[in-house]
Point group: C2
């Protein structure tokens, strides 16, 4: 296993090759934020060291799976002594590229847009809303969180003048695909979509979805 | 590998309560709200009839899988003529128990609580916030959406005097398990948790998770 996360070693230079020849399954990447979230909780409780067993209980995944997932990226724990929480958190942040703060644009300044723009949890976890857009003249010029809402017609120019690569779509479903099409022509490469509709985007643009009503409707089946 | 629900989410791993034995696999139930969401979109576009192929394109699931899923519940379409959108929507609403409006309690009147309480999308899809609670004296007596925030100490009594079986937790992570423990002693049987922490609940209580930061952190890996 190439120890790709120690930049001081010559192996650092192989990282690019490593990443392209041995693609780590998407599903493993998707579990890392959960591990990180649990580790951050442990750290805030004053814990120093954890085990794959304890971490597993915190995320509902087996200890064996966690060891296997983490070992894809290097040897971050020692047999018998477990993981240093601070060290493993830092490594996961590096792997996930959140050892920095990402600027984020929000499109749609309605209830969801406002809630999202004000949400402190984003800033604590690597994201900061710096641009906001809407097509409603009544909303343009108002603020969501700390950010002034701009006319959506200025979106492409404003995005291209920024370093924003992440956007959140919080417009009604009927406008969401049009917004996604416009975003795909900018440097935005990651979209978190709150509109209850599936989006079609070009290859290289990532989309994920938030739709609390689908979760509620799933649960009501069992009530 | 688990056939993750579209929209793909690592939070699926946290929904362990659903993994207990059920006649129809819980993963199929989880896809029904997505089918319904796509059907409702078609209906609002004035469409009358759809096919499993078209529906599949709307949700990113194969036509064969959709036919198989829907056939678990009966024969709702005809070979060659497809599905009547209104009829299939009604059937899915019946199956999911959302041919009615569910009252919902929100615990936590911060940014998320406000966003959720005002979100029109819930009402359109079967859910109405009727109770809200917080432990902050400054918030008690104020309103989230249309609902007055009550002291969280009155939560158990207020819930038991209501017909609320669904609660949304929107408190900071360090308080979420305590709130879940209190909810588990009421008639609440479904929890949508916005706090970034895994909850432990008694058997028979369903929990699902919303955590946009985990989605964003997943995508930043690829940026």
């Amino acid at each position: 296993m190439v120890d790709l996360l120690y930049p001081k070693t010559p192996l650092y230079y192989l990282t690019e090759v490593f990443m392209t020849t041995k693609k780590i399954p998407d599903i493993i990447i998707g579990r890392l934020p959960l591990y990180l979230r649990a580790l951050e909780r442990m750290a805030s409780n004053g814990e120093i060291v954890t085990s794959s067993k304890e971490l597993g209980e915190g995320v509902g995944i087996s200890a064996a799976q966690i060891r296997k997932d983490i070992s894809q990226f290097g040897e971050f724990g020692k047999q018998g002594t477990g993981y240093n929480i601070k060290f493993l958190s830092e490594k996961l942040r590096e792997i996930l590229n959140i050892d920095r703060v990402w600027d984020v644009a929000i499109i749609g300044a309605g209830d969801i847009g406002h809630g999202v723009a004000r949400y402190q949890g984003f800033l604590e976890r690597g994201f900061r809303v710096t641009l906001a857009f809407d097509n409603d003249a009544k909303k343009i010029g108002t603020k969501v969180g700390e950010v002034e809402v701009q006319n959506i017609e200025k979106m492409a120019d404003a995005l291209n003048a920024s370093d924003v690569k992440i956007a959140m779509i919080a417009v009604p479903a009927e406008y969401a695909q049009d917004v996604a099409d416009k975003l795909a022509k900018t440097q935005v490469k990651a979209i978190l979509n709150y509109a209850p509709i599936r989006l079609t985007v070009p290859e290289g643009v990532h989309v994920q979805y938030i739709d609390p009503a689908t979760h509620l409707q799933w649960m009501t089946y069992y009530l």
